[in-house]
Structure formats: structure tokens, C-alpha cells
């Protein structure tokens, strides 16, 4: 690159860096200008953008590039043939959407729909169980009792163990002469195919991740003021009514975030069925395992197509989840809907006066002082 001349350099670099300051345009943007603070905010934004730019570059490198590269790769197929001596003549051939056609309607489709069903089934069942058990954990841990600290630490253990390791642990317990069969007295072939294998995977998954939901919900529970419950008790609310009308609504934001995270995680489930039951077992094969399997067979085009389909599927599920339940994680201040903005403004009003009051008080105090 030739260095820009002194004449051209400012021309190209200046306009985006020094946009004309327009206080009026800015005030129109901000929902409720208060006091003298709004003017420097725009420059704050620039500083923030500057400080964030390394992060954005890293994100672009590690997320958008691989994502685009996978999409590109999914349009190719390795066209391996053998010459007469038996050596591979290879080249990547552009096949357009043929890989996707194979996934949805070709010979791969039966395996794909089975994996799609397994992925969805595992996600729905395990996340539902985790949520119920996790909330129960949180309610227990939120009570004051002897040994609570120990229980909290103990609950964390499953979450701290790497999934592949817990897969091995459970495989060991679920093998034919393992502890599960010994305790139950039955001879169930957990690590073979079928319903038993699915139960094994879901058990291990719920064991591992219910604590995660439990801890997030616990954090939500701890900010509910005790007075609310006291008032409810005075009104004669039963424990169930207290849970249903106070705890659940107030803990909902934390719970939804926890469930959303688990949803994202469970849809990508790979290591647990892979280690616990094994690859290419029909009853536990997930979309991630399909992608791995194709990559392992050196069919990178097909593997990328599976991965892209998985990304789209995860995105769609999450979008629906966010839309239906209104988990408020993706909305930032400027993308809020009018109703939310109103709520936010109200919240600001509620917050700001106390924030200013100390200042006001000090001034009055200072005035009083002399």
C-alpha cells in the first residue's frame, strides 16, 4: 500500500471521523433530554465505538468469516474419482444448492429428519425437565437452613465437570453391569439403541445442566424483597399462590434468560450422546453429530450444509422463543418498542430523581452551612 499523500489523507479520513455536530438532531434522538448532560453523549458513543472496534474485528474474524466460509463451502462437493491405477483424482466442484437438496429430499434426508427430530426431542424434553428441577433447586437454595452453603457448592459440581467427562461417567454407570442396572435390578441395555439410550442421554443432560438454571434463578430470587411475601401472607395467600403470583412473575426475566441459554446449548448437543451412546446410533444422532460425521468422511461441503441448516434452525427456534415469551435480552435502549421506551422512560424518571437528590441536597446543605 502506498501511503496516502498529505492532500488526500484528510479528505478520505476526516468526514466519518468528524461528523458535523448537530445538537438539534441529537436532541430529537434522545427520548427525554434532561439537564445539561446530553451534549457530550455523542462523543461518548464515538469513544465507545473506538474501544469496541478490536472486539468487533475479532468477532468478524472468528464468527462472520467462518460463517460465510461455511456457507460458501456448503455449495461445493468434493468430486473424488479414481483413475485406472486406483489413485484419487480430486477437485472441489461447485454444485450450488445440491447439498441442501440432498439433505431435505435426497438419500440423506431420512437420516437428517431423524437427527432433526432427535435434536428437537432432546431439547424440548431436557430443557423442560431442567427448568422444573432447576427452579426447585433454586427455591431450596433460597431458603435459610443449615448446610445451605454446602448444598449450593454441591449443586455446582455437575455443571463444573466437562461434558465429555460426565458422558464417560454416565456411560460407566449405564453399562450393562453398571450401578444403574445393579440398583434397579433390571437388565436394561442403556448404551445400545432405542428409548433406553434416549433416556440415558436426557438423564445425563438434565443432571448436568439443571444446576445452571438453578443458579441463574437463584440470582433472580434473591432480589425479590421479603416484604412482598409478608404482605401476601397477611392477605392470606397460600404457598402455591405466593409462588404462582409473586415468585414466578418476578423471577421470569432471569428464568427466561436461563432457558434461552439452555435452548441454544441443547440444540447443538454433541458430546453427550457421542460419548455416552456412541456415534451413528440412530436413536441419539443429533444434527451436530451429522455434521461431524460428514466432516469425518471428508465431505466438507455436506458437513457445512448440515452446519448451516443447524445455524438457521437454532436461529429460528430462538427467534420464536424470544417473540413468544418476550425475553428481553436482545433489545438495547435504542431498539426498544414504543411501549418499552415508555416503560424505560418511566423507569429513568423513577431512578433519576434520587440520583440527583443527593446533589441537590448537598447544595442546600452547603448553602445552609455558612
Amino acid at each position: 500500500m502506498t501511503p496516502p499523500t498529505a492532500a488526500t489523507a484528510p479528505k478520505t479520513s476526516q468526514p466519518p471521523e468528524l461528523p458535523p455536530t448537530d445538537p438539534r438532531g441529537h436532541t430529537a434522538d434522545s427520548p427525554a433530554p434532561r439537564g445539561a448532560t446530553p451534549a457530550p453523549r455523542r462523543q461518548d458513543g464515538k469513544a465507545a465505538a473506538f474501544l469496541l472496534s478490536p472486539t468487533l474485528i475479532v468477532l468478524a474474524l472468528v464468527i462472520f468469516y467462518p460463517l460465510l466460509s461455511a456457507v460458501g463451502q456448503s455449495l461445493y462437493s468434493s468430486d473424488a474419482g479414481l483413475d485406472d491405477q486406483g489413485f484419487v483424482v480430486q477437485g472441489d466442484v461447485f454444485v450450488g444448492l445440491q447439498n441442501y437438496a440432498q439433505i431435505f429430499a435426497g438419500p440423506e434426508s431420512a437420516r437428517f429428519y431423524n437427527a432433526l427430530w432427535n435434536t428437537t426431542f432432546f431439547t424440548v424434553v431436557s430443557v423442560a425437565l431442567e427448568t422444573v428441577i432447576g427452579v426447585m433447586f433454586a427455591l431450596m437454595m433460597n431458603r435459610a437452613f443449615k448446610g445451605r452453603a454446602f448444598l449450593r457448592a454441591a449443586v455446582l459440581v455437575p455443571w463444573a465437570i466437562p461434558t465429555a467427562v460426565s458422558g464417560l461417567l454416565w456411560r460407566w454407570m449405564f453399562q450393562t453391569d453398571g450401578i444403574v442396572n445393579t440398583l434397579s435390578g433390571a437388565q436394561v441395555l442403556w448404551t445400545a439403541e432405542g428409548m433406553a439410550a434416549q433416556v440415558a442421554v436426557i438423564t445425563a443432560e438434565v443432571w448436568k445442566t439443571a444446576p445452571f438454571i438453578g443458579l441463574l434463578v437463584l440470582a433472580g430470587l434473591q432480589i425479590i424483597p421479603e416484604e412482598v411475601y409478608e404482605a401476601a401472607k397477611l392477605d392470606g395467600a397460600t404457598a402455591w399462590q405466593q409462588f404462582w403470583s409473586i415468585t414466578l412473575p418476578l423471577v421470569k426475566p432471569a428464568l427466561l434468560v436461563a432457558v434461552l441459554f439452555r435452548l441454544l446449548d441443547a440444540l447443538r448437543m454433541f458430546d453427550l450422546p457421542f460419548v455416552l451412546i456412541g456415534p451413528r446410533k440412530e436413536s441419539v444422532e443429533t444434527l451436530s453429530i451429522l455434521a461431524w460425521d460428514s466432516a469425518n468422511q471428508l465431505e466438507y461441503g455436506m458437513a457445512s450444509a448440515f452446519a448451516v441448516v443447524l445455524v438457521v434452525y437454532v436461529a429460528a427456534i430462538v427467534y420464536v422463543f424470544v417473540r413468544l415469551l418476550g425475553a428481553d435480552i436482545f433489545t438495547s435502549s435504542d431498539a426498544a418498542t414504543p411501549r418499552k421506551r415508555f416503560r424505560r422512560a418511566a423507569a429513568d424518571d423513577a431512578v433519576v430523581p434520587p440520583a440527583r437528590q443527593p446533589g441537590a441536597r448537598t447544595t442546600t446543605h452547603e448553602v445552609k452551612q455558612p
Binding site: 472441489d92 441395555l189 451436530s288 452446519a307 436461529a315 431498539a335
Partner: protein, 434 residues
């Protein structure tokens, strides 16, 4: 605004889906230009790429080489223990045409894939001591009539049997499937054999199943692929073999739980006295004879070649070979190093540290060696008649198809006839597309 809102989940899901993408992020635009494959030129430092070796035997060989060759040092690159991951790293190295890896330690079943893709260079047969090695092991390193990999160590199947119970019932180690059934009938009638099952191998859906099925087919007089590489699994011999397994599960000769057995689960079952007979590799001989109380069967078992339909069965060949990466530098050094590594002297010295079977027949009959590893003479018989697993370029697809079909049959999902007919069609289309 709505637009923007709906974009956010996509960005976030992109973050969390990175794991799936990472699996596929590598490009496969490898061309196979390797120049003259016969030229072994260049001297200097090289690398030896293999799985970890806990016995320390391979390290001794490398140290011995390094002491003698100060200008041609060998550096050991250790790959993960898992064979699939080893293969994946070697394949990636080849697809990037990187010169990082020089000498590759390959599982015998990878030879065809690596050779056909020209990821490994054909070796000059006359410069290596292959003429003195067990022919089956050399055959396993050969592709398209060229030697691509030098045998390092070898492996074959053995039938482990409970000698104490066989003696009590007055029967011998069996040579055929019928004899095995008869021996089991006699043994299981004994009061001390209560709760035991007859026979197990490796029947979980993984490579072990391909090995066991392949052995059953060759032991019944068939082959999975014909001489010219066409699949031949829809044959009476293959059906007899598959029925041996399917009927075994149905009649209870093979216990129901053996459907979950890989090598280790089978060893545990035999070691805790649940089985009369077990098909496994030689490596379990040491843990089974452990005198520290961990083995219930120490001193109570013996080994024999695996049984077959009409006489002794035919084992599938296991083991490891050494090959030279096409993209490596200093190939002359690499060839000398392989020659040194697989030489008779080094194989003999390593034998003291590791119980891996050497590729020279003479060690199997050496009295000193046999006194410490008493299964060797039996193993030699097993290896000399052993058949390599299917030599196909895309071995991963082949073994997957075989596992699918056999597993469906032994779990009762499909009749053996249908499973084999479908497998034949699938393998034929795979072969045609290659």
C-alpha cells in the same frame, strides 16, 4: 427497528453455533501433485507423528537413532490417543500440504485412503526388510501393487477360553462354531458355571463390529470384497456368518448385553468370570493374568485361534504401519529412519518393553520371548492366515455401512437377508462413485 431487532438473535446464535462451524471450517482444496513419488532425497531433521506410547518403547528407538544421527534428528509429534482424531489431524496436514509431518504412524485400515490420495509416498521395497516380514502384514501396507507403508507392529484375534471349566467338563478349546456351542453346552451344565454366558466379541456399533463381522465372513469361507475390489456381501457365506451372530444372540449363546460390548467391556466380563469364551486382541492377555487380585481368571484361561465354520477361523489383521508424507522434506532421512525403526534389532529390543506383536515370524517361536508372552505362537497362526479389512479408499464410509447393516440385523430390526442385500447395494454404489 423491527428489522434490527430480529437480526440480533442471528448474531447471537452465530456465536453459539461456532462449535458446529469449527468442525467444518477447513477447506478441502487439496490437489494431488506430488512430483516424482519415487524420489527420496534430502537429509536433515524430520518428525515422527504418532499416538502416545505409554510403554516408552518407541521413544527408546528414537533416542537410539538420534544418538547415532546428530544431523538428522527425529522429533516426536504426539497426537491424541483417539484413532479418529489422529487420522483427522494427519488428513488435515495432508490437505494443507504441510511439511510438518514426515513419518506417519498409520493404522492398517488407513493405508488405502492415504495411498490413493497420494498423501503418502510409495516406498522402495528393496531398501526395506519387508521380505523377511510376515506376508500378511506387508500386504496390509500395500496399495495398487506398491508398498506404501512399512509394517511396524501387528495384531490378530485370539479366542480366550476358561481352561479350568473346560477341563472340568472334559472338553478342548473349540476349532469350529459347532464345537464352541458343544463346549459351552458341556461347561454351562456344570454347577460352578452358573450364571455364565457362552461367548462374546465386540458387537457395539463401532469399528469392533466391522472387525467381528469381517472375521465371521472370512471364517465361513467368504470375503467382503472380491479380489478386484467389488463388494460381495450378498453371498451364502456372508449370510452364514451373519446368522452365526444373529442366532447367537437369539439363542443366548451370546449374552444379550454383549450388544454394548467394545473391547474393554468384553474384557471386564471375561475377567470377572461371566463368559466361557471371548474373542479379543492380545493386549488383554496381561490384565487377564494379573495376579494382584484384579482378575478372577488369572491362571484359569488359555488362548486359541478364533473358531470358524468348518475349521479354525480367519482373523482380521490389526496393527500399525509407518509411511512417509508426500509433502515432507528430507525424505532420504525418513526412509533410513523407517528402515531403522522396523529393523529386526529394534523390533526385538522394543519387544521387552511393549507386548506389541513384532512383524517378524521368528520372534513368535523364540523360547525366551515366548516364555514371557506365551500367547505368541497362537497369535502367529492367527496373523499368518489373517485377512486385512476391506481395502477401500473411503474406508470410513465402508465401515459405517457395514456397521449399520450388521447392527440392524443383530438387534432384530432387519432380517439378515435384507440387511445383506441392502449392504450389497450400498457398497456397490459407494464403490462406483469412487
Amino acid at each position: 427497528m423491527k428489522q434490527r431487532r430480529s437480526n440480533r438473535p442471528f448474531a447471537v446464535t452465530a456465536i453459539v453455533s461456532i462449535g458446529a462451524l469449527a468442525l467444518t471450517g477447513c477447506s478441502s482444496a487439496a490437489s494431488s501433485e506430488s512430483g516424482d513419488p519415487q524420489s527420496f532425497e534430502g537429509r536433515g531433521p524430520i518428525t515422527y507423528v504418532s499416538s502416545p506410547d505409554s510403554s516408552g518403547a518407541a521413544q527408546e528407538t528414537i533416542d537410539a537413532w538420534n544418538a547415532e544421527h546428530p544431523d538428522e534428528q527425529v522429533e516426536w509429534i504426539e497426537l491424541p490417543l483417539d484413532a479418529d482424531q489422529q487420522r483427522q489431524q494427519m488428513v488435515q496436514n495432508a490437505q494443507l500440504e504441510s511439511d510438518t509431518y514426515t513419518v506417519l504412524n498409520l493404522d492398517v485400515v488407513w493405508t488405502s485412503e492415504f495411498a490413493a490420495n497420494r498423501w503418502i509416498a510409495p516406498l522402495p521395497e528393496d531398501e526395506l526388510p519387508v521380505a523377511e516380514m510376515i506376508p500378511a502384514t506387508v500386504e496390509a501396507g500395500t496399495y495398487a501393487d506398491q508398498l506404501f507403508a512399512a509394517p511396524y507392529y501387528t495384531d490378530g484375534a485370539l479366542l480366550y477360553g476358561r481352561s479350568d471349566l473346560l477341563d472340568a467338563a472334559g472338553v478342548q478349546m473349540p476349532q469350529t462354531w459347532d464345537e464352541m456351542q458343544a463346549a459351552c453346552d458341556a461347561v454351562l451344565a456344570l454347577p460352578e458355571a452358573e450364571g455364565m454366558s457362552c461367548y462374546a466379541g465386540q458387537f457395539d456399533k463401532n469399528e469392533g463390529l466391522t472387525v467381528n463381522f469381517s472375521e465371521a465372513v472370512t471364517s465361513a469361507g467368504g470375503t467382503l470384497f472380491t479380489e478386484d475390489g467389488q463388494p460381495s456381501v450378498d453371498t451364502p457365506e456372508a449370510l452364514t456368518a451373519l446368522n452365526f451372530l444373529v442366532d447367537g444372540f437369539e439363542s443366548g449363546m451370546i449374552p444379550e448385553k454383549a450388544i454394548t460390548f467394545q473391547e474393554e467391556q468384553g474384557r471386564q466380563a471375561f475377567q470377572s468370570g461371566d463368559l466361557v469364551f471371548l474373542r479379543n486382541w492380545p493386549y488383554i492377555y496381561n490384565p487377564l493374568s494379573a495376579e494382584d487380585g484384579s482378575s478372577e481368571v488369572a491362571g484359569k484361561f488359555e488362548v486359541a485361534p478364533i473358531p470358524g465354520l468348518e475349521s479354525t477361523g480367519v482373523s482380521t489383521l490389526g496393527g500399525r504401519n509407518l509411511a512417509v508424507s508426500t509433502f515432507a522434506e528430507n525424505k532420504a532421512t525418513a526412509l533410513d529412519f523407517i528402515d531403522f525403526f522396523v529393523s529386526r534389532e529394534q523390533e526385538g529390543q522394543r519387544l521387552e518393553l511393549s507386548s506389541r506383536a513384532p512383524v517378524y515370524g521368528e520372534y513368535f517361536e523364540d523360547d525366551d520371548v515366548v516364555s514371557s508372552l506365551p500367547y505368541l505362537p497362537t497369535l502367529l497362526g492367527s496373523i499368518e492366515s489373517a485377512q486385512p479389512r476391506p481395502k477401500t479408499v473411503q474406508y470410513g464410509q465402508t465401515t459405517a455401512a457395514i456397521q449399520d447393516a450388521v447392527y440392524a440385523a443383530i438387534t432384530g430390526e432387519q432380517s439378515p437377508e435384507d440387511a445383506l442385500a441392502e449392504l450389497q447395494v450400498l457398497l456397490t454404489s459407494q464403490t462406483a462413485s469412487q
